[in-house]
Structure formats: structure tokens, C-alpha cells
Amino acid sequence: MYYPFFLTYILTGLFIGGTVFYWALKSGQFSDQQRARFLALEDIGPQAGPTSMRGRYQLYFIFSLALAAILASIALLGYALFFS
């Protein structure tokens, strides 16, 4: 019996989509479209700052994770080729 899942999903999707659209309409998201055209050009977001020591370690950790992923793949290939 799959229809309840499908119907629930469709109705939930319609409800959320409708609600978000209504919010956008009411909160002025569709107004002042001329200014909106320039939003990507106004470069006033946070500037890149110096990385703290802790941040640097976090980045090293992610790097080591990515490295571990590559090594895991190499190990997998090596095992497959020579030991299985």
C-alpha cells in the first residue's frame, strides 16, 4: 500500500511550497526587483580573515580525512589486485 506515502508527500509539498510562496509575497520578496539585480555586485560581505590556530587544525583534520579517503580507495584497489 503505497498511495498514503505518495499522497502525504504531495500534499506536504504543496502545503510547504504554498506557504513559502505566500511568505515571499507578503514579505516583499517580489518587490524592489531593480535593487535585487545589484545584490550580487555589492561586495560588502565578510572579508577573508586570518585563520586562527584552531581553525588551521580543523582544516588539517579535514585534509587528513580527505587523504584517508584516498588512501582507503588505494588500499581497496591494492587488496583487490593482490590479496583477494
Binding site: G28, F30, L41, L59, A66
Partner: protein, 457 residues
């Protein structure tokens, strides 16, 4: 500067950096898996009976790693840079971002190990076993939460179209991934019979339509105006494209099942909406191309912009092909053949992959405060991928037409294999080109993030 905006403090962009690394590293693994699989099509006995390296295991590893290891993290890296900037605030939580990246990479490692070991649910694009499914849904929810809270804390009232796309992509993927992987049935990850096929392709096509496409559109809508130093052609048109995408794209998955006894009304909806996709596609492309009109020189100067703009051209090609392929008379020849594989490569690598790489090259100098390590390597990678994707398209289209016509005329599969052998050889060669491009890109990105003082990009 408008009065309602303030200049935020400096930012570390750790989450963006983490996703840059994730994308660059996994691109190499993903393309290597694809390369080995392509070589096996030329030389099926290459790896003997090594179960880990069977085509049937490498193929899902390749596909899932490209989707979730390379392209999506690449696009998210840019999103974690530009969403706070467009909202004139800081990211809600860099710590949460780091947790997300760690979970994401753990899920990817588990993906390689489990699929390599043969633990699969056997449904295309939904092969991963239940614990990994749960992990992926969780990370998308965490990412959405991070972005949603950033929106809540925003100092800019209007949400630029890129923000709409990013929010939609993350939450809709969390939902469709859970639904499409039948996450409430951990053992099988499937329904039974035809409903399962309908659900699978609802999810399968929405991985492209509601994850890669909106994230790519978001990135292009941010980068092209910046590179061209001109405002977006029309923000209203961009919003029209966004809502049209949400309404139309969700229905088209069943065009994968035109030869299957699914209800006819559903096939009709899928075909009509596949053709109707021309509305959001052209709304996006007209907007981007008119923004770039007369500014191609500026795009050529910026390596990020060059990747992104090329990605939009590929989007035009893949979308026209996609709409055509949904027509039953066309699909009678093209379906189940290499044509579809070529189509998928133009879409995922040519469109979303190019924009993801463009996003990385545009973002990295801005989040590190240093120039890119090597513009030459980035240009080299650009041309290798362009040649690779164009080659894939030509070779697989020819090969697919040979297969499709032969099968339509009642020829058996194995008698066609000698005819398409040469195309498989060229395909594997192009795969090598893409793999080498991924190595060049990974080296360039690692050096740019960690070690270099760089050159002008």
C-alpha cells in the same frame, strides 16, 4: 552603501574551505573509478574475477562519488561563501559546518567500502545501504539548518535568487532522498513492483533537478554578474525560473519508464513537463547570457567565470537533448543505449561539474585572501574537461545510435559489441583525460589552500 546594511567582521570560511578540499579529493577517486570501469568495457577480463573491481561495483561507486563526492561538495563550497555575503551577515555556525563536512566524508568513505564489498540495495542512484542513507539525509538537514539560520540572521531584506536556489536544493534533497531511498524500510530500501520504479525515478531525476541544477544555477547567478561587473539582467525573470523549476521539474522522472506499464496519465505528465522544462531552462540561460552580453572578454579573464559560463552552454545542450529524449518516438531508439550515458556526462560533468569547478576557482582566492596557485593548471584542467566532455558526447551519441537502431531492428546485444568496440576505446581514453584533469585540479586546489603565495589569477 545602503543604510540597512552593515559591514560584517572578517570570516574564516572554514566550511567553504572544507568543501573545496572534499570536492577536489573525491573528484580524483570518482573519476578513477569511472576510468577503470570504462577500461573494463574495452577489456572485460582486465581485473579477472576480482569482485571488488567488477564493473557492477565500480559503476555505482563512480556515479555516487561524482554526485555526492565531487559535484555537490564543490557547489556547496561556493554556496557557503556567497550565501552569507548575499545576506550581509556571517554564516550561522562554522562549527556546525565542520561537523557537516566530517559526517559527509565519513559517509563517502563508507560508500566506497560498502559498495566495493557488494553491500548494495541495487536501485540505480539509490544503491547505498540504509545507515549511509540516514547519514546523507542528516547532513542535508544540518546544511539546510545552517543556511536557514543564516537567512534568519540576515541584514539584507531581499533574498537574492541564489539564496532561494540553495535553500530549496538542500531541503528538497533531504526530502526526496529519504523518500526515494524508501528510508522507512531499512532492509530493502524499496517498495515492490511498479510503484518502486516510479518512486525510484522520481528520486533519480530529482538528484539532478532538485540538487545539482539549483545549486549550479545559484552559483552562476552569483558569479556571472561579479565577473562581468554588471547587474543581473532581470531578477524577476530569475525568480520566475526558480518557481517554474520547482513546479515542473518534480514531475518528469517517469520519462525514464515509458517502456514500463506505469499509468499512461503519469507518462503524459512526465513527457509534457519534460518539454515544459524549456521555460525554467531558458529563463535561466537568457538571464545569464544577457547579463554577460558584450562581456565575454571579462569572462575569459577570470578562470572561475570561464568554467561557469561554459557550464551554462553545456546546460543548454543537455536540456535540449533531455527534452527531445522524453519523446516516445525518439526514446524508442535512444533509451538503454550509450546515448543516455553521453547525456548524463554532459549534464553532470559538463554542466554541474564545470560550474562546481568554476565556483571553486572563483571562491578560493576570496576565502584565502591569496591568488590561485596556478592559473595555467586551472586552464589546463578546463581544456581537458571541455575536450573530454565534448568527446564523450560525440562518441557516446554515435555509439548509442548504433545500439538503438540495431536493437530496434531485432539484432541481439552481443552482435553489436564489435561495432561499438572502437567507441569504447575512445571513451576510455577520454576518461583518462578527465582523470588527469582531476589530478591537476586537486593539486592546484591543495596548493592554493595550504601552501602558496600564488600567482595572479
Amino acid at each position: 552603501m545602503p543604510e540597512n546594511l552593515t559591514r560584517p567582521n572578517t570570516a574564516t570560511y572554514l566550511t567553504a574551505k572544507g568543501f573545496c578540499l572534499t570536492s577536489a579529493a573525491w573528484m580524483m577517486v570518482a573519476t578513477l573509478a569511472g576510468l577503470v570501469a570504462a577500461i573494463e568495457l574495452v577489456a572485460p577480463d582486465l581485473t579477472g574475477n576480482i569482485t571488488w573491481l567488477l564493473f557492477s561495483r565500480l559503476r555505482p561507486i563512480h556515479v555516487n562519488l561524482v554526485l555526492f563526492g565531487f559535484v555537490t561538495p564543490g557547489l556547496l563550497a561556493s554556496a557557503f561563501y556567497f550565501v552569507p555575503r548575499l545576506l550581509r551577515t556571517q554564516l550561522y555556525s562554522e562549527k556546525l559546518g565542520i561537523v557537516t563536512i566530517v559526517l559527509w566524508n565519513i559517509a563517502l568513505i563508507a560508500l566506497v567500502i560498502t559498495l566495493g564489498a557488494g553491500f548494495t540495495q541495487g536501485r540505480e542512484y539509490a544503491e547505498m545501504i540504509w545507515p549511509i542513507d540516514v547519514g546523507i539525509v542528516l547532513v542535508f538537514i544540518l546544511i539546510f539548518f545552517n543556511f536557514a539560520m543564516t537567512v534568519k540572521n540576515r541584514k539584507e531584506k531581499i533574498l537574492y535568487v541564489s539564496v532561494w536556489y540553495v535553500l530549496a536544493a538542500t531541503i528538497l534533497t533531504a526530502c526526496t532522498y529519504a523518500m526515494g531511498n524508501v528510508i522507512w524500510q531499512p532492509d530493502s530500501g524499496a517498495l515492490s513492483g511498479i510503484p518502486d520504479a516510479i518512486l525510484l525515478w522520481f528520486y533519480g531525476h530529482n538528484v539532478f533537478g532538485l540538487l545539482l541544477t539549483p545549486l549550479s544555477a545559484a552559483t552562476a547567478y552569483y558569479i556571472i554578474p561579479q565577473v562581468c561587473r554588471s547587474p543581473l539582467y532581470s531578477h524577476t525573470l530569475s525568480l520566475l525560473g526558480f518557481w517554474a523549476l520547482i513546479v515542473i521539474y518534480t514531475h518528469i522522472g517517469t520519462h525514464h519508464l515509458l517502456q514500463v506499464p506505469v499509468p499512461t496519465w503519469l507518462k503524459v505528465v512526465a513527457i509534457v513537463d519534460s518539454i515544459a522544462m524549456v521555460i525554467p531552462v531558458m529563463a535561466f540561460l537568457i538571464n545569464i547570457w544577457y547579463t554577460a552580453r558584450g562581456k565575454l572578454g571579462l569572462i575569459h579573464e577570470d578562470i572561475g567565470g570561464k568554467f561557469v559560463f561554459t557550464g551554462t552552454v553545456m546546460y543548454f545542450i543537455v536540456s535540449i537533448r533531455g527534452s527531445m529524449m522524453s519523446l516516445p518516438d525518439v526514446q524508442r531508439v535512444t533509451h538503454f543505449s550509450h546515448w543516455v550515458v553521453g547525456h548524463a556526462h554532459v549534464g553532470v560533468l559538463g554542466f554541474a561539474g564545470m560550474i562546481a569547478l568554476g565556483g571553486l576557482y572563483f571562491t578560493i582566492p576570496r576565502i584565502t585572501g591569496k591568488p590561485l596557485f596556478s592559473r595555467f593548471l586551472a586552464d589546463l584542467q578546463f581544456w581537458m574537461i571541455v575536450i573530454g566532455v565534448a568527446g564523450f558526447t560525440i562518441v557516446l551519441t554515435i555509439s548509442g545510435l548504433i545500439q538503438g537502431n540495431a536493437w530496434l531492428n531485432g539484432e541481439t546485444v552481443y552482435r553489436i559489441l564489435p561495432q561499438i568496440h572502437i567507441y569504447n576505446v575512445v571513451r576510455a581514453s577520454l576518461g583518462l583525460l578527465i582523470f588527469l584533469a582531476s589530478i591537476a585540479g586537486c593539486y592546484n586546489i591543495f596548493r592554493s589552500l595550504f601552501l602558496t603565495s600564488g600567482e595572479n589569477s
